[in-house]
């Protein structure tokens, strides 16, 4: 049956098999990409609702719509859902699955069944994690810092196990991409010719494969401590709470590059497409992705400058963090140079790309404030960090996802809808951008509230 319809001239990956079952058992990388898109979009809505609840609560001083206990939970779920279920799978698993094989001339990814399994891992992990809501919810923050998170609570255990299972989704996707990039390139498609998006995915995949298992082990130890009372992290049982932070950030710092590196790849493509130019400094951009991936493993301690780690460790991590700034700066300058003498079409996706550069530059320079150890001691754990992170994750990753998604609309639909979509999205974009900048500026100011409000002494 399938072969009969496959030869039909209007047949494509969307209609050559029909029905829900064909989607749930599909091994087609494009279909799996779309499954991821639907899943991630759904969780984006969920995480967004939690964000709206946070903003609403912060509308006025004191209790607006929820108690402190509820607020701590909403904050936790906003962070955990957005990080683990939206931004990490957002680009690699959706756009990566869809385009990686196409861009290197492969029929599919190397392991299609693993690819489908990874989607089920994400669903299962998300399901387990969100079950915690029925146990009163976890209030630990998305970082699960011990010993606060050791409370023998089923909610924390569910969150930890959910993250553990969802982590396999990331590992399997990364594994697939590394093998696909190495083994399935079309003849003549050498590593120095692959599109920059593939370079970005490849660098990301290396981090996913090497770092995610550490997170898996960490949350498993956390779950074991919660269930069986084994003293890994609780000093009362002979554990070390700072050890948890080392484990956690050993994954979670490289993880922010899982979140942002693919976005760099997307932006390289959007800018070249809509400026009608060859990328400026292909080699520099490609290898700076690899450099970022490599150095990202050695900077986790910059989350711990005031955690009680030694002075020497703090200094070394500050130095290494500064090194990450260089390849990041290279990328921004190269994108700007790509615009030079181009033919720039200010269509909606390009506006997202330019908006990315605007917001990500702010995210980048505020990162230097935090890498500088003396200023970090002051800014650590304040809204300054929250603003920096959101500039990078929203201004960076989400902007690139949205810009790239616009191009997924099939071309014939695209052209007939272009005017409508263009104007509509420009408006939405501008309004959203403005709102984001305002809220980030607000966050910045709120970080300095003690001085601005002149708190009574």
């Amino acid at each position: 049956m399938a072969t009969a319809t496959a030869h039909h001239e209007n047949s494509n990956y969307l209609n050559h098999e029909k029905g829900l079952w064909s989607w749930l058992t599909t091994l087609d990388h494009k279909r799996i990409g779309l499954l991821y898109f639907i899943t991630v979009a759904l969780f984006f809505l969920v995480g967004g609702i939690f964000a709206l609840l946070i903003r609403t609560e912060l509308y006025s001083v004191g209790e607006t719509i929820m108690t402190a206990e509820q607020y701590a939970r909403v904050m936790t779920y906003h962070g955990a859902v957005m990080v683990f279920l939206v931004i990490i799978p957002g680009i690699p698993a959706f756009l990566g699955n869809f385009f990686l094989p196409i861009q290197i001339g492969a029929k599919d990814v190397a392991f299609p069944r693993l690819n489908l399994l990874s989607w089920y891992c994400l669903l299962l992990g998300a399901g387990i994690a969100l079950t915690s809501l029925f146990f009163g919810g976890a209030d630990t923050g998305w970082t699960f810092y011990t010993p606060y998170s050791i409370k023998h609570s089923p909610a924390v255990i569910c969150m930890a196990l959910g993250v553990f299972v969802a982590g396999f989704s990331s590992i399997l996707t990364g594994l697939n991409f590394v093998v696909t990039t190495h083994k399935l390139r079309a003849p003549g498609m050498t590593m120095n010719r692959i599109p920059l998006f593939v370079w970005a995915l490849y660098s990301t995949a290396i981090i996913q494969v090497l770092a995610t298992p550490v997170l898996g082990i960490t949350v498993l130890l956390l779950a074991a401590e919660n269930i069986f009372g084994i003293g890994f992290f609780d000093p009362a049982l002979g554990g070390d709470p700072v050890l948890f932070q080392h484990f956690f950030w050993f994954y979670s710092h490289p993880a922010v590059y899982i979140m942002i590196l693919p976005a760099f790849g997307v932006i390289s493509e959007l800018i070249t497409t809509f400026a009608r130019k060859t990328i400026f400094g292909y080699t520099a951009i490609a290898y700076s992705s690899l450099a970022i991936a490599a150095v990202s493993f050695f900077v986790w301690g910059h989350h711990m400058f005031v955690s009680g780690q030694s002075e020497f460790a703090g200094i070394v991590f500050s130095f290494l963090t500064m090194l990450v700034g260089v390849p990041t700066a290279i990328k921004l300058f190269n994108w700007m140079a790509t615009l030079y003498k181009g033919s720039i079409n200010l269509s909606a996706p390009m506006l997202y790309a330019l908006g990315f550069m605007f917001l990500f530059t702010i995210g980048g320079v505020t990162g230097i404030f935090l890498a500088t150890i003396a200023t970090d001691v002051h800014f650590h754990d304040t809204y300054f960090v929250v603003a920096h992170f959101h500039y990078v994750m929203v201004g960076g990753t989400l902007m690139s996802i949205m810009g790239r998604d616009l191009l997924l609309v099939p071309e014939n639909v695209w052209s007939s809808l272009q005017r409508c979509l263009g104007t509509c999205f420009i408006r939405v974009h501008l309004r959203w951008l403005q709102r984001h900048v305002l809220s980030a500026v607000y966050s910045w100011i709120a970080g300095h509230a003690p001085s601005l409000l002149r708190l009574p002494a």
């Binding site: 009362a236 709470p241 009608r276 060859t278 700066a329 615009l339 033919s343």
Partner: protein
């Protein structure tokens, strides 16, 4: 065209020069140094931002698509240019790294002769214990509202905090009542340090302006986290001494309490206070010294080592002394008892 960015910059600079107004009032020398590096970073960031985003906007308008058949230049790379924009940021990063390191070094090393105060954090309150036994806690005012604990310190004298996390109620056996992470943040001094269960962390500051300063907890510790505040009141030395000796001060100093424990808990049986060798190392003149431990390695006799040796005696045994002799005193000594013993050992010069 060429002077336009300069005009823009000159408009921005006064705002940046007032950058320190984005920071809380600076009350220590270190805070002033942090503000300088902050202002430098802010100006550098603004200049970089204007170059990058200004360049981007300029190109977008200059090279906007005019027709569907526009010709574009074929430019693949330029090694000189790429080197310049990699190397200049690198130099700037190394400069701020070194500058930040210098200030951080000052933050981490307290001067000799600092006034030492013990700080205890719990869910969700601060408690301060002075060496003479005076204790400061939060209180309830006439309206039944919580008044945060106010630590009084002398102006112009370095103060060193020895911080520990404790249970909500001392001696509680409730497994849910466990010490958690907190963080002591004094914005006026631009310093912050996590308070970690199971060990002591330290920080120091020297307030040069009399006045009251807020302390915040900056490590999420539960629903009362945002209300977990304390105050520091910096007063002239004479006033401080008067306050310290005034009513409400402890009945005996920490060192005296430690001396009493030294006898009553039979520490004296194995550890002499006069330098003679009994079973274990003498306490005399041990404080701050570097000591060899069994199995190699060295350890400095400080708060954390003494605490560990009391609660887990066989973790680091002094070289040349028998292991496995001393029993643990965990459960027999309260957290405050351990602090008292530490203060007693400090006095045995």
């Amino acid at each position: 065209m060429s002077f336009k960015p300069l005009v823009l910059l000159s408009l921005l600079l006064p705002g940046v020069a007032g950058a320190s107004t984005f920071m809380p009032p600076a009350a220590t020398v270190t805070a002033g140094e942090v503000d300088s590096i902050y202002a430098f970073l802010l100006i550098t960031s603004l200049v970089s931002f204007i170059i990058l985003i200004g360049g981007m906007i300029f190109f977008v308008f200059k090279y906007k698509r005019k027709s569907a058949t526009d010709k574009t230049a074929y430019i693949t790379h330029d090694h000189t240019l790429e080197f310049v924009w990699s190397f200049i940021p690198f130099l700037i990063f190394m400069f701020v790294f070194a500058w930040g390191w210098k200030i951080y070094h000052d933050m981490r090393h307290s001067p000799e002769g600092a006034l030492e105060v013990h700080v205890m954090a719990k869910k969700w309150d601060w408690r301060f214990l002075y060496k003479n036994g005076k204790e400061v806690t939060s209180s309830l005012n006439d309206k039944g509202q919580k008044e945060p604990a106010t630590m009084v310190v002398p102006v112009g004298k370095p103060v060193k905090l020895i911080m520990a996390s404790e249970k909500i109620s001392a001696g509680s056996t409730d497994p849910m009542d466990r010490p958690v992470l907190h963080s002591f943040f004094l914005p006026a001094a631009r310093i912050k340090q996590d308070v970690v269960p199971g060990r002591y962390t330290t920080m120091w500051f020297q307030l040069d302006q009399p006045g009251d300063y807020w302390v915040f907890c900056t490590e999420f510790c539960g629903s009362g986290h945002s209300a977990m505040k304390a105050r520091i009141s910096a007063v002239p030395m004479a006033d401080f001494e008067k306050w310290l000796a005034a009513e409400g001060s402890g009945e005996m100093s920490l060192a005296d309490k430690g001396r009493a424990l030294y006898s009553s808990k039979a520490c004296a049986g194995c550890h002499s206070a006069d330098g003679t060798r009994v079973v274990g190392p003498s306490f005399k003149a041990s404080w701050g010294k570097s000591r060899d431990v069994e199995g190699g390695g060295k350890v400095t006799v400080d708060e954390n080592y003494v605490r560990e040796s009391i609660l887990n005696p066989n973790a680091k045994v002094a070289a040349g002394y028998p292991a496995g002799v001393m029993p643990t005193f965990a459960g027999q000594l309260s957290d405050d008892d351990v602090k008292a013993l530490i203060e007693f050992i400090k006095t045995l010069k």
